[in-house]
Symmetry: C2
């Protein structure tokens, strides 16, 4: 079922990169994604998806950051990381197949070989975070286990592949607190990123949100989300929500890779950048 | 072609009801609709539509105002008011027909008679603003020509109909400056509203944006839009844009009428109201 989450939200886990709205007497923010609202929708409707705008004011200027972009987000009840990965590779394959069949004329204009796109078929290679670190270390990067994969790391890994590929199970410290821990390896989260090949890097992120109430409360306190603003989510956990998994594909990043664009601003009709929101 | 306009915009014609975003060092606003960006898209792609969120912080509390809502907006090149009206009634009829066929189960749950919806077929009755004023005066309202149709007026008119109906050609003074004047009657704008019957009132608004550069510049000055922020739009007029017409249907208002809801908040999963944006 297609759903819509709110754009204006009262609280924000990641306040570093949030955009603030003057909403009468109170502070509010622009959404960074369907989570945690997805949980209400999944609990009510089962499988849901949305295609809607999200906002991230990260203070970095790169060829792949817009402060306003669109996401395809999905939420699937009773879904594990493996099924989530399959669903994403099916979706990306489907998009590439359809484009190679129905977009021939447009692909020719941008000199993108439709036969290359036709080759994008599941299954995609699957790396764990551990694999990724090992490859990077072997290739001479001074990175230690537990560190965030920076853009240079992503790019290096992504240049090794001719196909989209997954990196899964990021450590607890570098993912948002919403993710479930791996029961067998509690230092890892049940999370997965999808990277485009040829240096394009991350186009999708996903995982299984945690169902542990205590952990959530502790983490929300750490993030300074007020008790009043936590209540509805905690109430939902109390009344009974379903375990689920979700993913979010960045539409402009996907477009950037598919069309082999140099800058993400060319994937948007009216790109909003850190230093330019005109016109 | 489906398109997306920006959500964060640098200038706002109607600053009374705008929501402000803190966008680093500069003031920005949340979009109130695809116009004037529609003009760029129509000039490039021909017929376009978008389904996306818009924001209006009108300081009135009614059962039909959300500060954040979704709109179906369409832009059609070389289209007059008459064709625009036809297109809208075809779309609304189509939605009602499809629902009555495919949504039987859901309609039964909310006790909405699918046979009633099946009767919603074009052509819809067409009133002019002049007709509307005459009817209201005859029915005892103390309204003069040139006044805005308030909610009580809309409701009264809307209660007289069992079918959606149009009101067109609103006076220059009560419509935004973007609309074209009627060449035969310069005191009237080429604008049209679609009202739902049975007291539900306006669900759509549309018209032909002006192509008169002088008038636009004068009006933009009156609205205190800075010259720098006008430039791109004026450049577009200079380079050559196409005359077009556009409409915008409020998704939650349409839903409110179709489902016969008492309050618009019931048409949204996470309604954002003037005094409540929680959760």
């Amino acid at each position: 079922m297609e759903v819509q989450g709110p754009v204006i939200v009262p609280a924000m886990g990641d306040s570093q990169s949030s955009l603030e709205v003057k909403c009468f007497d109170r502070k509010a923010y622009l959404t960074q994604g369907l989570q945690p609202y997805a949980e209400v929708l999944v609990s009510n409707f089962g499988r849901v998806f949305t295609i809607s705008p999200v906002f991230r004011a990260e203070k970095i200027r790169t060829e792949r950051h817009l402060i306003e972009y669109w996401r395809i987000e999905g939420g699937i009840p009773h879904c594990d990381l493996n099924s989530l990965t399959s669903m994403q590779e099916q979706l990306i394959s489907y998009i590439c197949q359809r484009l190679s069949e129905e977009g021939k004329e447009e692909l020719e204009v941008i000199q993108r070989d439709d036969r290359e796109l036709r080759k994008v078929q599941e299954p995609f290679p699957r790396l764990t975070y551990d694999d990724a670190i090992r490859i990077l270390q072997k290739d001479g990067f001074a990175i230690h286990w537990g560190a965030t994969l920076d853009w240079e790391h992503e790019k290096h890994l992504s240049l090794r592949f001719g196909h989209p590929f997954f990196i899964s199970e990021f450590p607890v410290g570098i993912r948002t607190f919403f993710f479930q821990s791996n029961p067998a390896k509690p230092e890892l989260t049940m999370s997965v990123d999808l990277l485009a090949p040829e240096g394009y890097g991350e186009i999708s992120t996903g995982g299984q949100p945690t169902t542990e109430k205590e952990k959530l409360l502790r983490k929300m306190k750490e993030e300074e989300i007020s008790e009043e603003e936590q209540r509805w989510y905690m109430d939902l956990k109390e009344i009974g929500s379903v375990p689920y998994a979700g993913f979010a594909i960045g539409v402009e990043r996907l477009t950037k890779w598919i069309c082999k664009l140099e800058h993400i601003k060319d994937a948007s009709a009216f790109p909003r950048l850190l230093d330019n929101i005109y016109p």
